[in-house]
Amino acid sequence: MTIPLIPLHVFVFLPVIIGAVTYFLPTRWYHAVMLLGNLAVSVLAVNIFIHVRWTADIIQFVAFWPETVAIKLAADSLSAPMVMLTACFFSCTYLFSTRAAYMDKTFIFIFLMLEGALFGVFLSGDLFNIYVIMELGMIAVAILIMYKQDKQSVYDAMLYIMMNFIAMAFMMLGIAYIYRITGVLDLAVLEQRISELSNPRSVIIPYAMIMTAVSLKAALLPLFGWLPRAHGAPSAPAIVSAVLSGIQVKVGVYLLIRLNTVFSPAIDASMFFLILGFLTSVAGFLLAIAQKDIKLILAYHTVSQVGLIVMGLHMGTEVAFWGGMYHIINHALFKGLLFLSAGIIIEEYGTRSYSEIRGVLRRMPIIGIATLAGVLGITGAPFFNGSISKYFITAGVQGNLAEIGLYLINFGTILSFVKYSTILFGTPTLKKSPKMDPYVSGISLLFGAAILVGGIFGSQAVSLMYGSQYSAQGALGFQKILTFFLTLAIGVGMYYMVVQKIGGVLAGVRIFKFSFNQVTVFITLFFVSLLGFAYFTV
């Protein structure tokens, strides 16, 4: 049975249309129709992926205008897996929280609008279109963060939207520059025109401007100030945190790949992003170790993992590149799971401090097991999916400085998750075992199972997703398993010997927060340093 392909612009609008139509349905049918709609979107996304993977790329021009004039929508081997991931992830998170108190119709409508915006960014092949859809996504995210309007969520959302607005102003100026130089906005034609330029130096200013905006979206080193505030916002609903960390931050990473390809005939800044990825990763786990709030531990940890992904993508070898791409999917799975389960745990215990939560495994066995699977995945334990993507990224470099850096990052990951997993053990403060919503436990276990399957069939998963064959035999080698358990032992030892003894230092790191002005200075510094790098290398 084959499902006909729908036009891509209809696909982008589909979640928004579903949200708008179901808004007027009586509450009795609402969830059934919404579930059906989400399922339909997922099926169509899988269908697009299958078509792209085994038949051909889909390229469509909106309203039948010729190329370079029309807005282009394209699904290729890079964007189709992301679209499929987004659709399935949104369906799962929707199912996860159908019974939650905050899920009213307006919330779901904005949630689906964000889904449409994400599809738009992934499928768009036109620079200005990407800009517009990113602004739409930004507004939707800001509303979702402050939806409950309690505690400091309005402040978090305001900081988020203003920082992003500055970055987007940079991006628009960059787009204007590039339009002035080349006269097109279509990404494929743009790449060709840039390769024909007589002086490649003329594009370094627009390059630096656009990349500053994209790096802020991807939360690279000095620009990640918004991420913990947005993802770990104390009052933001769990599914918003999960979607932001699982999918939305990957938009930045995806655009980093896309736009670096467009500018590749003129500028090669992979060294810059490699170093920046490493620094981001180190800063991320250091800050994660210092946090007390379990949501903030996870949020800072997202920064660290994004750094790792960016490192893999710019390592310069193909294995590492696909390892980084696979890590995008893996990170969406385990960080999505961790944020969702953290939401349930916080609701159950009524606190967010890691030292007050004990015995999750005994009190909520299913959530506990799912969390454990997420932790094992993220630390790269053998047989779990994190080990495969980290193995591929490491396979790109053997015996040089970057390999030591990767070991350091993995050690930091383990150290911060030793801290996180203390909530799983011990005796629970309350004995009563709560009644679990079947959807919550079902989706948690589904994510956990996906993490395990993605690890056992790692090499097959990569070839299924991206069509590139690499053997992951080494990831289960004796040496790798030994290394993992040795690192784990050192991590546990170091946590109890060192980290618990330096509470004063950690408290000092924890209150390290930047005001809006300082963040703007960081954006400017980033722009200037990227400009300088491009100037001296081109």
């Binding site: 800009y131 517009v132 309005v154 402040y155 305001m158 100026l173 002035r180 005001s515 002005n517 703007t520």
Partner: protein, 121 residues
């Protein structure tokens, strides 16, 4: 003095737009008042729009509406795109101002630094 006069008369609208953009950025970096930073960000947005509008402008070209000869028409793409950008800019600034009202009512300050200190308590 002659060179200064030449420099000033040689400036185009797009040069001024870039200058305006970085003026806005300076404001966002230095102003501690929230309203002033929102204004600065708005200025940056408007400057980028102005810069885009003047892209590919040629002396003597007319607005691209019916009745103008095709060879005289200005490039219609920036104008079509910037309508969208203006609308986006207005809505984002409006949203920032709405959030600003909330924050001011709750914390009683319009200063970024004092605001951070009050959040800690």
């Amino acid at each position: 003095m002659a060179s200064v006069a030449e420099f000033i008369t040689g400036l185009t609208v797009s040069d001024l737009a870039v200058a305006l953009f970085f003026t806005g950025l300076y404001g966002a970096m230095t102003q501690r008042n929230i309203i002033k930073t929102i204004m600065s960000v708005g200025i940056m947005d408007v400057a980028a729009i102005t810069f885009f509008m003047t892209a590919n402008f040629q002396e003597g070209s007319r607005s691209p509406i019916s009745g103008t000869a095709v060879e005289q028409m200005a490039d219609p793409v920036p104008q079509a795109l910037m309508i969208t950008a203006i609308v986006i800019g207005v809505s984002v600034v409006a949203m920032c101002l709405a959030m600003y009202m909330r924050v001011v009512y709750r914390y009683g300050t319009a200063d970024w630094k004092i605001l951070i200190r009050r959040l800690e308590d």
